[in-house]
Every structure is written in structure tokens, then in C-alpha cells.
């Protein structure tokens, strides 16, 4: 790790004002390891952990709001989340291991847009709105490729708004080493609108599987996906799974998500 300065922000305004060329520090579960490996060298860190405005989970009967600094374990165990969108609580409970879930935050995860992270699939399938210090961004516009998002320099995510769905579930096939998603599929149904979002597999990050959406829109059941194969082109291949295996798993996980939703 190189040396850096540290500022514990007291508010959203303070954080945005003081970050400068530096970086926000949330749970630190991505940022700190990359700094320790000397792959990132921010000279200044603005710590979000003491910003009260960034904490809390609430629901107004149609929209679930999760503030950016909510830890995965908080989302997983929240009665509000379990009541509003139970599949989202389950997704959070399946992230990493207990240490990761008690440090990592939804804001950090989504800002980072790791192609193997879980939350991006939920954001995209549920049509979430990403609220920042300066604007509101639709999930459809937010994820722009590997570790790339619509966030501007210094833009701070403050909250996520998840509109309720009739059905939602996420099925994840873990990378056996890292426990991240080798393939994760989120399926959401809201009236006649069905969205299927795939994480882990795409070499360009999270994406929607429109073929499956069409099948499920006409018949929302696992069997509707029988015989449907995802294409392997544009998928990742590595020592944990070839593109072809990932394509196969997309089909299997989509069915499992549809069955569980």
C-alpha cells in the first residue's frame, strides 16, 4: 500500500466536497485489497462509514429504498426487504462469506460494477433507480461495461430505489474459489413485463437475456425455458468455466430463478 490521507466524511455534502482526486471508501472490500496489492494508489480516501444519511432501509408500499452504505448482511436480514422483495434479501445473503457481508455495501458493489457481482443483476432485472448526490439514473443506463458505470468523477451514490415486483428471484452458480457469481441470473415479473438479467458470464458485464424474457412473458414458468440456449458468444471463459459452460449455466440458473420466483 502506498501512503494516503484519510478523511471521515460527516455528510454527503462533505464527502462530495472533500473527495477531490481521491476515492470514496465504503466497505473497502474491493478498494483496500487493490491498494494493498499496489494496483490502485489513491492519494486521498473519503470514508463514508460515518455518514448517517447513507444508512437505512425503508419502504413506501411500492418502492423499496436502500441507502448506499447498507451492508449486505443488513439487506439480507432486513424485515423490510424480506417483506418487500424477498429475493433481494436472499441475493444479499448469498454474497461472499460472512466477513464480506458484514463489510461490503450495496453502494460500493454497484459503483464498482464488477462483472461477477450479484447486485447489478438485481438492479437491472428490477429496473432500479440509482440515486446520487446530483441526479437519478435508471439501471438501464447505469451499467456500461466492465467496471464502468454512468457515474461522473466524484459522483456519489446515495441510495437505490427498487420498485416492487410481482415475482423476483435470483439464482447463482458460485465460482468455487472466489464465491462470486460464475453465472447469476435474476428474473423479475411486473405485470406483463418480464426482465431477465445475467451477471458473471458476460465479458462486458451484466446484460439482459431478451430471448428468455420473451418466453417467460408468455408463460412465466421454468418449463417455458426448456430447450432455450443462451449464446456463448460474448461470454467469459477462464479456468473456472468455458464460455460454453457459462452459456449452459445461464439456462439452468434462469430456470431455477423462474421456479423460485
Amino acid at each position: 500500500m502506498y501512503s494516503f490521507t484519510h478523511h471521515a466524511a460527516s455528510s454527503v455534502a462533505d464527502a462530495v466536497k472533500s473527495v477531490g482526486e481521491g476515492k470514496y471508501l465504503a466497505g473497502g472490500h474491493t478498494l483496500i485489497p487493490t491498494m494493498k496489492q499496489r494496483l490502485a494508489q489513491p492519494g486521498h480516501l473519503v470514508d463514508l462509514n460515518k455518514v448517517a444519511e447513507l444508512k437505512g432501509i425503508s419502504d413506501n408500499g411500492s418502492v423499496l429504498t436502500i441507502k448506499a452504505m447498507s451492508r449486505h448482511a443488513e439487506v439480507a436480514s432486513s424485515d423490510v426487504v424480506k417483506k418487500a422483495i424477498p429475493g433481494l434479501a436472499a441475493l444479499a445473503g448469498g454474497i461472499g462469506d460472512p466477513q464480506v457481508r458484514h463489510r461490503g455495501t450495496i453502494g460500493g458493489s454497484v459503483a464498482n460494477n464488477d462483472p461477477v457481482a450479484d447486485y447489478p443483476a438485481a438492479c437491472l432485472a428490477l429496473g432500479a433507480t440509482i440515486v446520487t448526490d446530483r441526479r437519478r439514473i435508471k439501471a438501464d443506463d447505469f451499467f456500461q461495461g466492465l467496471f464502468t458505470t454512468a457515474l461522473e468523477d466524484n459522483e456519489l451514490i446515495t441510495a437505490f430505489e427498487f420498485p416492487h415486483a410481482d415475482k423476483f428471484a435470483y439464482a447463482k452458480f458460485r465460482n468455487p474459489a472466489s464465491l462470486y457469481a460464475l453465472v447469476g441470473v435474476a428474473v423479475a415479473k411486473r405485470g406483463s413485463d418480464v426482465r431477465v438479467a445475467v451477471t458473471g458470464a458476460g465479458s462486458d458485464g451484466v446484460f439482459r437475456w431478451t430471448d428468455a424474457e420473451a418466453k417467460l412473458a408468455s408463460n412465466f414458468s421454468a418449463s417455458a425455458l426448456d430447450g432455450l440456449k443462451a449464446s456463448a458468444s460474448g461470454l467469459n471463459g477462464d479456468i473456472h468455466g468455458s464460455a460454453e459452460y457459462r452459456a449452459h449455466l445461464i439456462g439452468v440458473m434462469a430456470k431455477r430463478a423462474a421456479a423460485a420466483a
Binding site: M1, Y2, S3, Q37, R38, F173, P176, A177, S178, I239, H240, G241, S242, Y245, H248, L249, V252
Partner: protein, 788 residues
């Protein structure tokens, strides 16, 4: 059996300190004025070093010194050694390339040591290392044995232009070929024994220190055998004479073999401490551990098994290519030879065996002993062969094994080993009962109704441990003897210190060794302390590996205790005013035959030291004895493991549902500790079978250099084990014990793979059997079945 003697499940004495964080590991040791070492490592698998420019780096804040291989060479300090000479088929010696602690002229693997920076803080050392300018001439690399042996492959060491380290064989080739020619059936199998990274919980570390007043060195190091480290660093590398060199291996957090070896880092730390006149500390980070700890296994094998018309095995023929990595590590050469081929007879009566082994240099980290060392590789070969042969012959795999078991002892195999005692049928029968093999068909049907495939696999393993008779290993090329030493110091009021050359790094010696003494002397277990891991305290010893601490280390303690008892009886005879021949010792009491006179152990110890009751010229005061034990044979733990698992054919995910292990470890000192060793060993074996595998790309970059890519087994991946025992006492040591430290890791990989292939009806799959491989195999198998 007493409450704390042999056979009692005594809780581990050492666990309080380990669990409460009161252990003292090398990284916990900080010496006054200590500086920190950071090793600049090669980013290339194979390159010449044209120039190293340290000018800018030397100006970096906090830098104390920067050294390269040239500095060590100028000090006339030698390179690292390989301590086991192997000879080629034609009798010529193996081709061992030089292994400088810091590279000279060339780097040979990613992680090879280019320079060391010593600075006031570790961060400063790292900062400075980034400013070292190395001019590399990148060469093409050979990252696997096949590439390295191809014509035109890059030469890694000039002494071995074609990268062949040796070309060795064992057994009677003519007899074996003849048996194959006459065979009714031949089973053939291509096997890869995957390369593993040891990953002990505590990474390696070293603190070197120089005392100017006594002109002596001290090295704190994460070692399984501190005396051997001192011997090598003194006598071969030439850092200081042994009397001016202290090596301390305090608490060590696991080793699995990887901490047997003498590495570059500790050599450099202790050498540099004298140069800079400050203590020098290095602690490996996890990435360095992946890159530079000696890896394990990595064999590519073609194996064949011949059977006659009665389904009896008549011969086994094996050809193995073993990856040695870029340099020969301390015991590397012995692992794919004498620790491997002599076990190819398994538990079976096999009249003819021939094995040839080619050891190959590659541009990868050195490969050496890892839990089981050679025996897991041999067991995997024979237990896969036997399983596949049984299936090909349409015989139940358990029956096929039974038909071929060795049943009479001693049994001389055609490959060196003389099995001394065992009852293989007893372990198999007991394992089948405990496992409820009879209920397998019903469980398989239940799985099938859920769309799952269920399989059952056996592994009937044998291993050779209690390593080892010195003269025997000497005749096979070992550079050292493999006896063990012990010293028993009885204090004046009867408490006892046992000084042992064995080293405990997780095995529980502080408990088991104390049990032996507590039971034998009839004293409370709290009154016995075990001292180990310090060359200034303990006389020469050989350390811990090869499941030798019980069979060899404790035997030395028994021998010393015999002497203690004999001496104490002499003292007791004076104290109790009786003839020495009339003194009996039992349950901690000396009695005089036929009288009610008695004295307890503590009072006799006191009398030995105050020496008032006997003539100090005729009987020496004091009560302290030492002994060396050199075994007369290897020991042969054996047993049967049964793995039963379920496969989800949609994803290829394997879930182990039951595991039964029945082991014959001879007599058992502490059944709870033994069971723990079995559990840990199985976890490691399951890790090898399903998850672990070090992967280098064709340029020699380690792809699996962190836990994000190298899969370790987790608790959730493992079932609750069913562990049982059968016992045949080992005849070659006084306690009748065989050793249990490696058995689980040796037994388990073939059990898993036999179970998977049983479930799939598919004859081969390579380890690690990842979900993708299993899924593909399941597809192929389903297609084959559909076609039939």
C-alpha cells in the same frame, strides 16, 4: 489405560494458546533494531538478467542495503541444495542445476528471487524495490513437462540441456513385460496428478540476527525441522559453523511438507543480518506463498495393470513424468522416486512391477514433498487402475480388491517394501458395514428419482511412513539419516521436560508425547512439558514429516524413558534399602518385591539429585537420559476409505454425501487427535480431487496466484465423516504405532474420483473434477448410454 496415558482422548494442551491468540509464531518475534527484507521477484518465467541497476533504489528513504546474487557469491556463500541423490537408469547421477539464493545471470520462474531490499520498514523496502531497474532478456518458457521435453524446448539449466533431471526406474522390467505378454486382460489408464499449492494457514517467515559479541547467528524460521535447516545452512551453504548458529522454529502454523525445505528467503535473511549488523525480518504475503512455496504432486502418468484368467493381478507397469519446477528443492528428487514407486504394489499381491520415472525441469516454482509426498500419487495410480480393471472385468470393485489383497505377513513386494503387519480384509469389511454399502442401491434409486446421479468409490490405500531406517535410505541416496533423538530431563521434584527432535506444527505433540510420559512414569500430564524447535535447547534431531514423529520420535522417548527407569530403580534400591533386582516400578511407584516398602517417582527423583543416600562415585547423581532411535523398517498404515456422492447432471456439481474411513494406524496414542488428522487429511484429499489445482499459462505465469482463483475446500464442501479403526500393532517399534498424519490425504483422492466415475459410468476424469469437467463427462456419458 490411565486417564492421561496412551489411548486416552486427552484434549490438546496446546490449544488454549492457539485458540486464544497466545501462540508465538515467527512473525510475532521482533528483535531490537530489526529491519525488513523485501524480495524483488521475477515477473518472467524465464529470462536472462543482463543488468541490475540499484542506484535510484538505494536513494529511496529508509533503505539499509540492497543485495543481489553477486553479493552472496562474493561472500563465498553456497547455493541451496537438494539432499537426495538419484541415479539414472544407466547409473549416472541426476543433473542438478545450481540454485543460488538470489538469481545469478538468469531467472527461471515467476517469483524467482532477483534482489533483496533491506529497509527500516517493509513499505520502504517495497517502495525501493519498485525503483530497481532490471534489464531482462526474456526467453521462451516451458511451463509443463510435455513442453519442456519437446525437441527445441528452451534449456532451463545448462547441466540438463533437454531439461531431463533424471531418468530413473525401479522393478524388474523383463519379468513385468513377460507378465503383460501373458495377461488375459490389460487395463490402461492415463493419469494426471494435479499440481497443488500447500497453503498452510501461516505463511513462511524468517528473522535473522547476528550477535557481534559471540560472532554467532540466530535464525527464527517457520521450519518443520530446525536442526536440518541449521545443518544445511552451516555445512552446505556455509553461513556459520553449527556451534555459532542457532535455529529456532517456534509455533508453526501448519506446514504440510512445505516447511521442511531450506528456502532462499531464510538463507538471505540470516546472511544479510551479519552484513547489515541488524536483525532482518521477512514475512511472506499470500501471493508470495503461492509463487514461491514449494508446490506438490504434478505427475503425468501412463499406467497399466495385467490380470490373469482368475482376475488376479499379475503385473503393473507405470511410466511417469514428474515436474520438478525450475530448481531441485531440498528433497524434491526423492518424492517421485523412492517415496512413490515402492508404494505401487498397494495392498495387493502383485508379482511383477516396473516403474520408470522421468523428472523434468520446467519454468515453474520448485515442486517437493506435500502431505503424503509420492504416496498419494502412487495410491492414486493403483487405486484408479484397480477400480477400472474391476469394472472392465465386471467384478465388484471391493471383491476384486479382496481377491488380490496381501494376506500373509511379512510380505515382500517386488518394489523394495517389506510389509510387516496388516489385515486389509478387516478394514474393508468394517468400512463396508459402517458405510452401509448394502443400502447403496436404494440410495442411488432415491437420487435418481430426484434427477441426481449417485456414485460410490473405494480406496484401499497403503503408505510407508515412520520415515525411516537410516542405512536403508542412505543406500537409496538420502544425504542424511532419518533416526530421531529424545532427552528426558527429570527435575528434582519429579516434573519432566521432554526434549525432542520432532517438531510440532499442528500435530499435537505437546499432548501425545506428554501422554506417553504421564502413563509411563505415573505422573500428572501437567507435570510433563515438551520442548522442541530450538537447536540451542535440543540436541540434534531430524524433524517432522512423513508421519514419523510418533513411530520414530516417540520411540526415541521410550528408549530414553527405559534408561530413566533403570537409573531411577538404582536410586530407589538405595533409598528403599533393597537389592536393585527387587525393585519394581508401576503406576508411578517404586516398590520392593514382597514388602510394603514404596516410594513415589517424585521422591526418587529428589533423592537422585540430593544424592545423600548413595555414593556419587558409584552412581552418578541426577536423573536425565537421552536416546537416539533408528527404525528398523518403515511403518505401513493402511485402510479403506469409501466416498459416496451425488452429482447434479445439470451443472456438474458434486456433493459428497457420506464418507467412511477405516484406518489401521497400529496402536493409537490419542484417538481424538488421530481422528482430527484423518479429518484434515480427507479435507486436503477432497481438495485435490474436486477443487485445487495450480495452473500456469504457457508463458509460465501462475494463473492461480490467490484464493480468488485457487479453490480451497471449505467446511460446506465436506460431509460429516464416519471414522473407524482396525488395529494390527506395528512390530518394528516399541509402541506398535504406524503413523496417521498423511493417510487421509493419501487415501481420499481416488475414492472421490472412483465415486464420480461410478456415478457417471464413465471411466476417466482428471483432477480437480470441477463442475465443468463433471458436466461434460455427464453429457458424454448420457450420449454413450443413449447410443447403446
Amino acid at each position: 489405560m490411565t486417564a492421561t496415558g496412551i489411548g486416552a482422548p486427552v484434549r490438546r494442551k496446546e490449544d488454549f494458546r492457539f485458540i486464544t491468540g497466545a501462540g508465538r509464531y515467527v512473525d510475532d518475534i521482533n528483535r531490537p533494531g530489526q529491519a525488513y527484507a523485501y524480495f524483488l521477484r521475477s515477473p518472467h518465467a524465464h529470462a536472462t538478467i543482463n543488468k541490475i541497476d540499484t542506484t535510484e533504489a538505494m536513494k529511496s528513504p529508509g533503505v539499509v542495503a540492497i543485495f543481489t546474487g553477486a553479493d552472496i557469491e562474493a561472500d563465498k556463500v553456497g547455493g541451496l541444495i537438494c539432499g537426495w541423490a538419484i541415479f539414472n537408469k544407466d547409473g549416472s547421477p541426476m543433473r542438478a542445476g545450481a540454485h543460488p539464493a538470489l538469481a545469478i545471470g538468469k531467472v527461471r520462474y515467476v517469483g524467482d528471487h532477483v534482489a533483496v531490499v533491506i529497509a527500516d520498514t517493509l513499505a520502504q523496502a517495497r517502495d525501493a524495490a519498485e525503483k530497481i531497474d532490471v534489464d531482462y532478456g526474456v526467453l521462451s518458457a516451458a511451463a509443463d513437462v510435455t513442453t519442456a521435453r519437446k525437441a527445441g524446448a528452451p534449456t532451463i539449466h545448462d547441466v540438463a540441456p533437454d531439461n531431463q533431471v533424471y531418468d530413473w526406474h525401479l522393478g524388474d522390467k523383463a519379468a513385468t513385460d513377460a507378465a503383460f505378454a501373458a495377461a488375459k486382460h490389460v487395463t490402461k489408464l492415463d493419469i494426471v496428478n494435479n499440481r497443488l499449492v500447500p497453503n498452510p494457514m501461516e505463511p513462511r517467515a524468517a528473522v535473522g540476527e547476528y550477535d557481534i559479541g559471540s560472532d554467532s547467528l540466530t535464525l527464527y524460521t517457520t521450519s518443520q525441522n530446525p536442526h536440518v535447516a541449521r545443518l544445511v545452512l552451516s555445512a552446505f551453504i556455509g553461513l556459520a559453523p553449527e556451534n555459532k548458529f542457532r535455529v529456532i522454529a517456534p509455533d508453526v502454523g501448519g506446514g504440510f511438507g512445505s516447511k521442511i525445505f531450506i528456502y532462499a528467503e531464510e538463507t538471505v535473511c540470516v546472511w544479510a543480518a551479519r552484513k547489515v549488523r541488524r536483525a532482518v525480518k521477512w514475512t511472506s504475503d499470500r501471493t508470495e506463498a503461492f509463487l514461491s512455496d514449494a508446490h506438490g504432486r504434478d505427475h503425468v502418468t501412463h499406467a497399466e495393470l495385467a490380470t490373469d484368467a482368475n482376475g488376479k493381478i499379475t503385473a503393473v507397469r507405470v511410466s511417469t513424468k514428474a515436474n520438478m519446477g525450475a530448481y531441485l528443492s531440498t528433497f524434491a528428487s526423492s518424492v517421485p522416486t523412492y517415496l512413490y514407486a515402492p508404494l505401487l504394489s498397494g495392498q495387493y499381491n502383485i508379482p511383477a512391477i516396473y516403474a520408470e520415472v522421468e523428472a523434468v525441469y520446467t519454468n515453474t516454482a520448485p515442486v517437493d514433498a506435500y502431505r503424503g509426498a509420492g504416496r498419494p500419487e502412487a495410491t492414486y495410480v493403483i487405486e484408479r487402475l484397480v477400480e477400472v480393471a474391476a469394472r472392465e472385468l465386471n467384478v465388484d470393485p471391493a471383491e476384486f480388491r479382496r481377491r488380490n489383497f496381501v494376506t500373509a505377513f511379512p510380505h515382500q513386494t517386488p518394489v523394495i517394501m517389506a510389509y510387516d503387519a496388516g489385515d486389509y480384509d478387516a478394514s474393508l469389511t468394517k468400512a463396508q458395514q459402517m458405510h452401509d454399502v448394502a443400502g447403496f442401491a436404494a440410495r442411488k434409486a432415491a437420487s435418481a428419482s430426484k434427477g441426481k446421479l449417485r456414485g460410490l468409490g473405494y480406496s484401499a490405500y497403503i503408505e510407508a511412513c515412520g520415515i525411516a531406517p537410516s542405512a536403508a535410505v542412505g543406500s537409496l541416496g538420502a544425504g542424511v539419516g532419518l533416526w530421531e533423538s529424545a532427552e528426558v530431563r527429570v527435575n528434582p521434584i519429579g516434573t519432566v521436560e521432554i526434549l525432542t527432535g520432532s517438531h510440532s506444527h499442528g500435530q499435537g505433540h505437546e499432548t501425545t508425547f506428554a501422554q506417553l510420559v504421564s502413563g509411563r512414569l505415573g505422573i500428572p500430564i501437567e507435570n510433563v512439558s515438551i520442548v522442541h524447535g530450538d537447536t540451542d535447547k535440543v540436541q540434534m534431531g531430524m524433524g517432522t514429516y512423513g508421519s514419523r514423529s510418533g513411530a520414530v520420535g516417540m520411540s526415541a522417548i521410550v528408549k530414553a524413558l527405559d534408561k530413566i527407569e533403570a537409573k531411577a530403580k538404582k536410586v530407589a534400591a538405595h533409598v528403599l534399602e533393597a537389592a536393585e533386582g527387587d525393585i519394581e516400578f508401576k503406576n508411578g511407584k517404586f516398590t520392593v518385591k514382597g514388602t510394603d516398602k514404596e516410594a513415589d517417582f517424585g521422591s526418587i527423583a529428589l533423592q537422585a539429585y540430593i544424592a545423600h543416600k548413595f555414593n556419587g562415585q558409584e552412581l552418578e547423581p541426577g536423573l536425565k537420559e537421552s536416546a537416539f532411535w533408528d527404525p528398523t523398517n518403515f511403518t505401513f498404515p493402511a485402510g479403506v476409505h469409501i466416498c459416496e456422492l451425488e452429482i447434479d447432471p445439470a451443472t456438474g456439481v458434486v456433493t459428497i454425501d457420506r464418507w467412511t474411513a477405516v484406518d489401521d494406524f497400529g496402536n493409537v496414542i490419542n484417538p481424538m487427535i488421530v481422528e482430527g488428522q484423518v479429518h484434515g487429511g480427507i479435507a486436503q484429499g477432497v481438495g485435490q480431487a474436486l477443487f485445487e489445482g495450480a495452473v500456469y499459462d504457457s508463458d509460465g505465469q501462475l494463473i492461480t496466484a490467490s484464493f480468488m482463483d485457487y479453490t480451497m475446500p471449505r467446511a460446506q464442501d465436506l460431509p460429516s465423516y464416519n471414522v473407524g479403526m482396525t488395529i494390527t500393532a506395528c512390530p518394528s517399534n516399541p509402541l506398535g504405532i504406524k503413523g496417521c498424519g498423511e493417510a487421509g490425504a493419501i487415501a481420499s483422492p481416488p475414492a472421490v474420483i472412483n465415486a464420480i466415475t461410478n456415478a457417471l459410468g464413465h471411466e476417466n476424469i482428471t483432477m480437480p473434477a470441477t463442475p465443468e469437467k463433471v458436466w461434460k463427462a455427464a453429457q458424454a456419458s448420457a450420449q454413450k448410454m443413449a447410443a447403446e
